[in-house]
Structures are given as structure tokens and as C-alpha cells.
Symmetry: C2
Subunit: 763 residues, 2 copies
């Protein structure tokens, strides 16, 4: 039974080397896969989440005595929490945008003014130092306060919703750093997005609201006790993830679909509705605040802060030749997208070696990338020649303020630098420029080519530094410039607008890296507000995903593997059909008797790190040894803390149930609950007995030992279990063979035990 972590980890724990393990140890644990590296220096033990309802006597008593009004309360608070999540996420999303637009805007204006005075070198110095200060702020927050806030956050949320509780992934400090780190990171001009971090932020907000305040500061909401279990928290965090997407893209339907397609591992129809409600609240909040900000009341935040690329003006009539061009675009986009994943993977491995060395190295890496990015965005536009403004544009060219398509940069008046319009701008504005329709001649072919190459590789080397960094924007930027490049190239025989090609190029890149279809399609439609593009968009997404799937996995799945998170896939691996449950169950198994000696329980809790122990009734309690159920470590700790012991081996369940109530066993937030060290058991008490029946889950899911491993995996995954009991087939043996946990189903574990089984199936 390899419960959560294996024996080597346990030994270390007992030796008291601290809560977090160093990487090399974990590496040896998963030595059978050469592909696995770990990102981040300190790897903490991963807890599994438990979505099963623990139907013990206490629960049943509580269930029977539950009043109708309590059920209404539960439903009310469920919706109230969804509303709160929507409100908070909407608010944070809006704040995020205002902050980024103002900081980045101020920075660009400052530099621009110096350039107008032809102080080019000073402008460069100011630009680089602004960026470095912002980058350093983000990096320090990330490296010293909450390392878990680095990166996109979507893989971690995905893992959480799959049942993996990585350390402090949804902690308040992570939320704080994610919000401010993301603001500083985006404002620092990195090729990163704020969309992935928004998803993580939404999830953190949901988790925090679901925890019911902080016990430390005595801010607890009593009525939240209903939500103190993994099932309800999972639902809340799903809503939070959807709200994050909705806030980032102003795409409420896209948010729901994103949560459904990419984030969540379990889904119910009821959840669809609640998620939809949350994202609707986000949409209303954003709309309301945007209304307030109209007319420059929010500083430099105009109407365009939240990315929304209106391309309704584009006509979407297309013929067979256009269709061919689009198919070509999709195929190449898929290849480039999977190549993007490949490079990101390689870069992450290199960065993980640097990041491991300590927080200072993390900050230095961030600063290095910041300087490189600044040099690119200030230096590369000098390559481009100045173009005279088209006469019909009048006031719009060259742009005087921060926004706009036609940056003056180093050019004389009435000319513009098209490369600067892309580079020397916020990422959102660059995307808007690339998507803009009816401006075929705006960008030279060479401009697009330079921008595409630079952004493609800048995006790759930026992901993995210690800054909250979304992947959506880099991929959309690279895809849009690629699409516009193709659009300009095929402009001779295609009537489609090159702005439209940019949109389709972005879709192809997104499909090629992230491998989502429906949610991306809806998000892009909501972003661009043009439903007539739907068939073309669907086509491109399907093609690019199909092509990219031939080469590697989606970028989020790759990051999951890199982080060593034991993600359960929805389907069983083919070779699992050739194995049975008992093939992978490993010992030693620690079981308790129905009425167990306190000393034995304490010992078992000390020497193992198992989270579930089978309880077996033995004579004289029953005629023969029989499986009573499963008891959880956290419940045992609560019971021992309560000290309801008896001198003799007698049933004291009813007494216990009078003293301890179901809500005492409510699951605390990750890393909170009672710890073994908190117990204070005397020597005399060690010799006493405790009745485990009230807290024993009498209805654990079981499989017979001869059950095919594939079917056991489906059962485990579909029901969201943490422990699956394996019972013997033949009578006359101990009533339990072992326990299957998440790790027993991991390909690394199974292939470690049976290295050749993968070759056997499907020769």
C-alpha cells in the first residue's frame, strides 16, 4: 500500500528533517521515469483530496437530525458564495486591469516624451530601469513570499480539481502575490499574460471564501461548516476558475466552458448552472465598473483595458481558396504550437536548475529576462523604416497618446514606425493592432516576420521565471503575428481581411499549445464579438489541435508532469487491462480492530503516513474477522484529542456520539487540522481502549482483488476516491488485501512494477 508517499519519504519524515522535502529525494522516488524533472526547489508532500462522503455513524446521526431549514441554509449559502466569488473576482480583475494600464501607460508616456525630445539613450535607460524595478518587485514577491504563485497557475488549479492538494497552492499569501506579482510582471513589459494568473486568483478567492475566514484572526463564519469538505470546496474552486477566465477575457460563457473543458475533472449539471451564475456576476460587475471609468475617470485606463477586440466590421464571406489558406494556416499553426510546447518544456527544465539554487538566483534570472525583453522591445523597432502616414487617417497617425496603431517612435512627424506599434506597446494593444481590420498595408511583411520570431522566442524563455505569467497572451501574440504574416502573404489570392487571418492564426496557436477546442472557440468569439467567424474558427482549432496532438501533449499537461503532480487521467491506460488490482497493491498494511488500544493507534499514526486505515471487527465482536470499514487519519486525531477512552474492550460508541458531533470532524483547510504533535496522551491512557465504530466509514468502496486494474481505475477516478479497498476473492483469508490510492494507478508506479507490460499490449 503506497499511501500518498512511499516508505523512503516516511523514514525521512520520522527522522524529522522538516515538512518539505528536497528535490533529489523525490526524484529517487520516481526513478523509474527518466522524463520527470521537478520545477521549483522545495517540493512539499502532496495530499490527495477525498470526494467520497464518509458515511460513518456520526454522519448518519447528523444526517437524520438535519432540519429542513438547514438544507435551505446550505442552498442559500452555496449561491451566496457563488455570488461572492463572482463579485470578488470581478473586482480583482478590474483592479488588475486599471493598475496595469496605469503603470504601463505611465512608463510608456515617460519614455515617449523623452523620445519626442530626441533623448533616445536616456529614454532607453528610463525604459529599462522602469521595467527592471517592476520586474524585481514581482520577482521578490514571488521568490521570497509565495513561490507557488510563479507561473500560470492553471496547471495547479487543474491538479487541485483532479484531487491533488499541492502545498500552499491556494493559500492567502499565494493570492496576494499572484495579484500584485501579475500586475508588476505585466506592467514590466514581459511577454506574459494576466489571464492564467486571473484563473489562479479566482480559485484562490473561492478557496479562501470557502474556508470561512481565518481561524488565526478569529474571523470564522459558523455557517460555513457545511462547506468544510473537499466536495464543496471543489465546486467552489471550479466556480472560481470560471470566474477568473470570465474576468480576464470578459467572456462569461467562455469561462464556464473553460472550467468544464480544461479545469474540472468532475462535472455535474448542477455545477454548470452555478458556474454560469458566477460568471454572469463577473460580467455584470465588470460592465458596471467599466461604465464608471468612462471618460477617463480611471487615469490612463481607457475602454480598452480588458482585452476586447472588436472585429465586427470585418466581413466573413469566404470561398474555396480562402478555405484552403485557412487549412494551411491551421496545419502550420498546429506544428508551431506543438513546437512551442516542446521549447517551453526544455526551457522549464533549464530554469528549474537555476531556480533551485535559491530565491536570489530566481530574482537574477527574472532581471536578466527583463533586460533582454526591454532591449528587444526598444531596440528592434530601430530595424524598421519609417512609413509615411496614409493621408486619409488624418489625426490618428502618428499616435500622440499611449494607445493607437501608429507609433511615431524615432520617425519624423507624419511618419510612423510599424514595428514600434507592436513592440513598444502593451501586449493587449499589440494584439488589438494585429487584429485590426481594414488596414492591410499597415504592417510590412518584414515587420511581421521580425515581430513573430522575437515574440515566439521571448514567450518561450519568459515562461518559468519567478513571476506570475499567463500563457494565453504570448501565444495569442505569436499566433496573431503569424496569422497576419500568412494573411499578407496569401493576400494576392484571398479576399479575407488580414486582421481576420491574425485572429485565425491566434486560434491555431492556441489550439496547438493548449489543445482546447470549444472553450477557446467561445472565448475568441466573445473577445472579438463576431459570430460569423464561427465555422472558420472551429475548423482552424480542430485542425491545429489534431496536428499538434500527433507530436506532444498540451502545455498544461506537460507542466503537470514536470511538477510531478500525480494527475489521474479520465481513461485507463491500455496495459491496465492486463493487470488485476492485487498486482499493484503493495504492503505493509496497517489495520485496526473495531475497539483498539490507544497506544496501537498512536504508534501506527507515528510510524506510517497512511491517511486511511481499514477497521476489522474480530471475535468476540463478530463470528469471524470481517471488514468494518475505513477510518481516516484526520478523524482518528480528532477522536484521540477528545480522549473518549475506556478501560475495557467494550463498545462505547453511543457515549462518544453524545460527546462528539459530526462537525468536529469537518475537514480543516490544507495543512491546518490537528497534528500528531498536538496530542497529549499519558502513559496510562496508552493502555486504554477506544471504540472506532462511530468514526468508521462503514460504506467504503471496495473491489475484489481479481478486478481488472483498468476497471478499478475507472471506479477510482469517476467517483473521486482517495482510498479504494481491495478485498480477497476466496473466503478464509484476512478480510482485506490492501488499499489502492492515487499513486498505485500512476503509470510510473505500474510500469515500475511491470516494466514490460506496455510492450505486451498492442504489439
Amino acid at each position: 500500500m503506497a499511501d500518498e508517499t512511499d516508505i523512503e519519504v516516511e523514514r525521512l519524515e520520522r527522522e524529522g528533517s522538516g515538512a518539505c522535502l528536497k528535490e533529489p529525494l523525490l526524484k529517487s522516488r520516481i526513478k523509474y521515469t527518466s522524463q520527470i524533472a521537478i520545477v521549483g526547489a522545495n517540493v512539499c508532500p502532496i495530499e490527495s483530496l477525498d470526494y467520497e462522503i464518509v458515511e460513518n455513524d456520526l454522519f448518519k446521526q447528523d444526517w437524520r437530525s438535519r432540519k429542513k431549514v438547514e438544507i435551505y441554509q446550505y442552498v442559500f449559502f452555496k449561491w451566496a458564495l457563488a455570488l461572492l466569488i463572482g463579485l470578488c473576482t470581478g473586482l480583482v480583475g478590474f483592479f488588475n486591469n486599471i493598475a496595469v494600464e496605469n503603470i504601463a501607460g505611465f512608463k510608456l508616456l515617460l519614455t515617449n516624451n523623452l523620445m519626442l525630445k530626441e533623448k533616445y539613450f536616456l529614454a532607453f535607460i528610463v525604459y529599462v530601469s522602469c521595467n527592471m524595478v517592476l520586474a524585481a518587485a514581482a520577482a521578490v514577491l514571488c521568490a521570497y513570499i509565495a513561490p507557488a504563485a510563479a507561473g500560470s497557475g492553471i496547471p495547479e488549479v487543474k491538479a487541485y480539481l483532479n484531487g491533488i492538494d499541492a502545498h500552499s497552492i491556494l493559500a492567502p499569501s499565494t493570492l496576494f502575490v499572484k495579484i500584485f506579482g501579475s500586475i508588476f510582471g505585466v506592467a514590466a513589459g514581459f511577454v506574459v499574460g494576466k489571464e492564467g494568473p486571473m484563473v489562479h486568483t479566482g480559485s484562490c478567492i473561492a478557496s479562501l471564501l470557502g474556508q470561512g475566514g481565518s481561524r488565526k484572526y478569529r474571523l470564522t463564519w459558523k455557517w460555513l461548516r457545511f462547506f468544510k469538505n473537499d466536495r464543496d470546496r471543489r465546486d467552489l474552486i471550479t466556480c472560481g476558475a470560471a470566474a477568473g477566465v470570465a474576468a480576464a477575457f470578459r467572456a462569461p460563457v467562455g469561462g464556464v466552458l473553460f472550467a468544464l473543458e480544461e479545469a474540472a475533472s468532475w462535472w455535474r449539471s448542477a455545477l454548470l448552472w452555478r458556474t454560469f451564475f458566477t460568471t454572469a456576476v463577473v460580467a455584470v460587475v465588470l460592465r458596471g465598473f467599466m461604465g464608471i471609468c468612462k471618460g477617463g475617470k480611471c487615469g490612463l485606463f481607457g475602454e480598452g483595458g480588458l482585452i476586447m477586440f472588436d472585429v465586427t466590421s470585418t466581413k466573413a464571406a469566404y470561398n474555396a481558396a480562402d478555405l484552403l489558406a485557412v487549412i494551411f494556416l491551421g496545419i502550420i499553426g498546429g506544428i508551431l504550437g506543438s513546437l512551442y510546447n516542446f521549447f517551453v518544456n526544455k526551457v522549464l527544465r533549464i530554469y528549474s536548475i537555476i531556480n533551485e539554487r535559491g530565491p536570489l538566483f530566481k530574482v537574477i534570472l527574472v532581471l536578466t529576462i527583463s533586460i533582454l525583453t526591454s532591449c528587444c522591445s526598444y531596440g528592434l523597432p530601430w530595424l524598421s523604416q519609417c512609413t509615411p502616414c496614409p493621408p486619409y487617417l488624418e489625426d490618428q497617425c502618428p499616435t500622440i497618446g499611449r494607445c493607437g496603431n501608429y507609433k511615431n517612435f524615432q520617425c519624423p512627424p507624419n511618419q510612423y514606425n510599424d514595428l514600434a506599434s507592436l513592440f513598444f506597446n502593451t501586449n493587449d494593444d499589440a494584439i488589438r493592432n494585429l487584429f485590426s481590420a481594414g488596414s492591410e498595408k499597415e504592417f510590412h511583411l518584414s515587420t511581421l516576420f521580425v515581430f513573430f520570431i522575437a515574440i515566439y522566442f521571448l514567450g518561450i524563455i519568459t515562461y518559468g521565471i519567478a513571476v506570475p505569467s499567463g500563457l494565453f497572451i504570448p501565444v495569442i501574440l505569436a499566433g496573431a503575428s503569424y496569422g497576419r504574416l500568412v494573411g499578407t502573404l496569401v493576400g494576392y489570392f484571398s479576399d479575407l481581411d488580414s486582421g481576420l487571418f491574425a485572429l485565425l492564426g491566434a486560434a491555431s496557436f492556441l489550439g496547438g499549445t493548449m489543445r482546447m477546442t470549444v472553450s477557446l472557440c467561445v472565448i475568441l468569439l466573445e473577445l472579438t464579438n463576431n459570430l460569423l467567424m464561427l465555422p472558420l474558427m472551429m475548423l482552424v482549432l480542430l485542425i491545429s489541435k489534431t496536428v499538434a496532438d500527433c507530436f506532444n501533449k498540451g502545455v498544461y499537461d506537460q507542466i503537470l508532469v514536470l511538477k510531478g503532480l500525480p494527475y489521474m487521467e479520465a481513461h485507463a491506460e491500455p496495459y491496465m487491462r492486463n493487470l488485476i488490482a492485487s498486482d499493484v497493491v503493495s504492503g505493509p498494511l496497517v489495520t485496526f480492530s473495531g475497539i483498539e488500544k490507544v497506544g496501537n493507534i498512536l504508534l501506527a499514526l507515528k510510524i506510517t503516513r497512511h491517511n486511511g486505515f481499514p477497521v476489522i471487527d474480530e471475535p468476540p465482536l463478530s463470528d469471524a474477522p470481517e471488514l468494518c470499514g475505513l477510518v481516516l487519519r484526520s478523524h482518528l486525531l480528532v477522536l484521540l484529542k477528545g480522549k473518549k477512552f475506556s478501560e475495557q474492550r467494550v463498545m462505547t460508541g453511543s457515549q462518544i456520539m453524545r460527546k462528539i458531533k459530526a462537525h468536529d470532524f469537518a475537514k480543516a483547510g490544507s495543512g491546518k487540522g490537528i497534528k500528531l504533535e498536538d496530542l497529549d496522551i499519558t502513559e496510562a491512557e496508552m493502555e486504554m481502549y477506544v471504540d472506532l465504530h462511530p468514526i468508521t466509514n462503514a460504506s467504503p468502496y471496495t473491489v475484489v482483488e481479481t478486478m481488472s486494474l483498468a476497471k478499478a481505475a475507472v471506479l477510482f477516478r469517476d467517483l473521486g476516491l482517495r482510498h479504494l479497498l481491495v478485498v480477497p476473492k476466496t473466503p478464509g483469508r484476512p478480510p482485506i488485501v490492501g488499499i489502492l490510492t492515487r499513486h498505485d494507478f500512476m503509470p510510473e508506479h505500474v510500469l515500475g512494477l511491470y516494466p514490460h507490460i506496455n510492450l505486451q499490449s498492442h504489439k
Copy 2:
């Protein structure tokens, strides 16, 4: 063990009273619920579907020997089938529209021409008789050829995807009648839609393609053998349902979401993608054909045949007062929607009594409703006064052709009858008129009121007659007129366009009757092509669904109950937590020995209608009796047909496996496979033995008898099982207690056994 049907049904079967049971019998079976009535005269036994992979020795042999190329074949054909489903459904959807537009258009033109000549009575006679002829055609098809084609079809598809195979619900005859019956029904001017039937049509097409042609006509595709199981068929039919919505509304994303939210009970991420592909194909096909039809090449089919209400011209700026009006609209819409469901339910009960009497009565009922509808749509416009055409419209008013907002009807030239514009039109055009923006003054308040009342009740009395009849259009029509009515009323203090109010009214009605949210929202957005409406639409849908949920269930769920289909809800009922698995398991249990006498098997197959039999290995095959697995009726029939018997009680499994291959056991289409009567076993063979091991599923899912019923129900539902084995807790008893099937989890069954349990929980 109440497998599929209970003992009374079995007795009747043995008495040979035919394949289909009369209603009263089934009624007695479910006597414990007074709420249940059955729609339709002949109720056939319902088969459950089995989504479990039968992992017997034959399967494992086949699995191991499966070559890589076969897996690629499987994937290729999976996508090829999705493509085919999309193509066919798109084609049928297009054909359906052309046919309806041309037939209805011809009818309306004919009547119109007579009216222009002021031959009003003749026009009425022509109009009524046209409608009656069309109605009779639809009714005759429905009543005599395929009774299963009546109604919407969505509840049946929903039931199929939940695991219930009602008789001939996806048969070729049903498909035929559904297509043509729907065309005639809609063209006959009934207040019915073609959208629900399109969903059913899509599912029939998918089912037919998945069957691999017809064995009768020797049109079988060998490579389709991979798809001869319930799992793959379920996936295909999910794609078909999505394609149906996509074809009906030209809403590909809405189609996917509809399949996800309303139709499917099980969902995988991989399926999302395939469904999306199917609907994309539908979108492309429709777009292609619409292109061909441009410029009147398809008779009277203009551009507007497929409903698509372009309201992009509307501005979507709103203030707090508008929001209040919209909330009010949503609340009343929810109440009216749930009232609609209530009336539909009552009417269905009355109609079921009439329809039971025979096909002739069905046709008479259809004709009665047809006359009533014709009288309304020709008669009621006379109530309205003629309105002079607004001068700025010039050519558009009054309308000369079939389409257009301003029907001349009985009015003098240059005047129009606003009620006729709604009544004397196809339903699609009426909706388009109601949604039209910038035409505040077009409809009088009284006109809208009369139309709303008439359509609301016509819709209610039309559903349930023997004609394929969708519910979307009646509900949208009633909702849109209600919304425009409210919009006109609040026009004094709201700036929102009344066309927009019509759209929101339609949303509120849809939310109130069908209780979908995300999919309706997306469908309406795709229909109206205006994404800026999103927040308002979400608000209205959420409010109306919430309000309506206080009163009753969604209309499709109500119809499911009325039809007596044992639909498994996703969640377990609260009282199930107070029961354990053995509480509801009922005998008698028939088990087989691992090597069983042929005669015993035949007898068991004859006297029971069980579909699964536990196989128990007894000494000398094992030390003690132990559960070997589960064998299916259909597999037993194939094995007996193969006649691989032996004289002695010996293991002949390997011989059998050399002779019979896994694909011989592929599941035939519903009602096809080998029947008991097809077997030809001699007296001597009756005394011989057959080894059941090769066909025994050695990994059936099991629960211990003390497992809480709620958790067993979750297991059963989440894994899509047909049989769930209950094993004893204590050793020394027979190794199996019973089998749980779908019926054992039905509230009727459980509450029949424990009538007071529902009162116990949640006092």
C-alpha cells in the same frame, strides 16, 4: 432481483401475449405511484443499456491480439462516423427547411392571392383544407407507421443517453416518419417546431450509421464491428443530438452545449471535441447549401429558412431601470413557463386517453387541432384594425410576397394588418417579426395580447398529438410576444428596444419551461448574433429558471415521468442514505455454475427475463463456492447457438475460445440479436455441459450488502452500469446476495418497499 421488469410481466411473457404489453399491466406494476400515467397505447418492455466493458476471457484474448493498425482504424472510423453524422444531419436539416418553406409558402401564396381577389371565404376553405391535408399526412405516418415519432423526441433521446432503450425509438421507420411528419406538421401551420424533431432525427441518423447498415438488406460494413457496443453507440448518438440542434438553429456551439447540458448523462472531454467536430461539419454543410440557394434557386426558400434572427442593429446600452424591467420580465416569465409545463402535463394525460383508443382516434385528434389552429390563424386577424403603412417604409409595406413584416390581409392597399403579420405566417417569420428592432409602433398592444394568449394555449394543446412536434418554437413564440408586450408597456421609462424585450421574453420562457441555462444562452446568442446581449440574457435565464424550479420540473423531465421511463438522476435521493443495498435487493436469484448443464441454462432463460446471471465456481473447481463473475443473456444465447458442449463436467474454455471469437458477441441493434426461439437444442444436448468461463465477465462491479444505498446508486449511475452485484459481508454464506438493476434504484420501487422512509429523513 427485479431485473428490467418484474414477475407479473414475466408471467405474461411466458403466456405468449406478444412483445408489447398493454398499458394497464404496466400501470399495476408501478401502482405505488399515483402520479404516473402512460402516454401511448402500446408500451413495450424497456431494455437497459450496458456501458460496462465486459472483461471476459474472450475480450481479453481479443484485446491482447489487437494490432496497432486496428486501433488506428477504430480512431479513423470514429471520426469518419462523426463526419458522416454531421453531413447527413446537415443535409436533412437543409432539406427539411427547403420543404417546409416551399410547402408552407405555396399554401400562404395561394390563400393570399384569393384574398387579394376578396374571395375571403374561399380563401378560408383553401387554407383550412391545405392545413388538414398536411396534418392528416403527418398524423397517418405517425399513427400507423411509427408511433414513436410523435412528440419532440428530446425526452426519448435523453432517456437513451441515460441508458434506457425504449422500443424502436431510434429505428429507421421512426427516422423516416420523423423527417416527413415534421415537414408536414410544420407546413400544416401547427404551433410546433422542427427543432426537437431535428434532435431526434440527428440521433436516429447516428444510431443507424452506428449499426453498420442493415443485416436484412445485406448492407453491413464489417469495420463497424468496433462500434457494436452500447458505449460507442452512446457517443455516436450524443454527437447526433448535438448535430440536430446545430442543424435546427444553425448554432454549432449551442448544439454541443445542448448535448452536454440537457441530453447526455455521461460526458468525457474527448467526446466534447468529437461533438464539436460534428456540429462544425453541420455548420459548414448548411452554409454551403445556403450559398447554393442564394438568388431564389430553391423555390420559395429564401435566406431566412433556417431561423436566424439578426438583431445586431440593436443597441445594448441599458441602465438600472431597464435592469429592473428585465428582472420583472424574468420572474413573470419563469412563472408563466412553469405554468406552461403544468398545462402541457395535464393535456398530455387527457390526450393519452384518446390516443390509446387506436390510430384512428389519433388522426381525428390531429385533425381537430388542425381545424382549431387554422381558425385561429385565419380568424383572429379579423379582430385587428387596419393600420396605414408608415410612409418611410415605401416598398416594404404592405408586403406583396410571402415574407415580410407588413401583411396586407383584408386591408385596403397601403394599409396592413399587424395581427395577420404574426398569425398568418410561418412560425419562423412570426418570430423574426417579433424580434425585429427599430419598429416600436408596428404592433398594437391589443394585437400582442391576443397573439400571446392564443399562441400560449395553442402551443399547450398541440403538444401531445400524433405529430412530430418540437417545443422550442411554441415557447419562443409565446415568450417573444410576451416580451414584446412587456417591452411596449414599459416603453415609457425604458430605452431598450422592444425587439430586444421580445428576445429576453423568449429567453425567460425557455428558461421557465426547459430549465437549461448555458446552452439556451448560447443558442439564442448564435441565433441573434448579438454578443452584447449576453449579460442581460444570462440574468433573465437564471431568474426564470430559479423561479420556475420552485414550482415543478422541466418539461422534458415531466414527459419522461409521464412515459414511465426509469430515468436515473445524477444524485442519490436523500432517503437512500438511510437504506443499505440489501434492503432493496429482491429475489429470486438465478445463478449458474462455472460449468453448467445446457438444460439448466435454457430453463433459466425461459422462465426468467433476467439479463445477467451470476456465475459461481463450486467444488471441485474451487475450494469453496466463490463468485466467478457475471454472464449476460445475450452472450449465453450466442454460446448456446454455437453448441460447444461437452459430455462431461470439464473445462472446455480453450476449445470454445478457438471456435468463437469476441466479435461474435458484439451487441446487435436493439431488438435484433439471437432470440430464445432461434435455438435448436436437442434432448441429448440438454443433458450436456457447457463451460461458461470464456464468456463470464470476471470483473463485475460489486458492493458489499451493507453499502449505503445512496453510495451504491452513485456507483451505478456514474459508471453507467446495468447490473451491480451485491456480495455478502460475512463469510460462510453463498458468495452472492443479489443483483441491483436500474429499477431497484427508482424512487417508486424504493418508496414502494419503504413507504415511510421519505418522512423519516428531513423531518
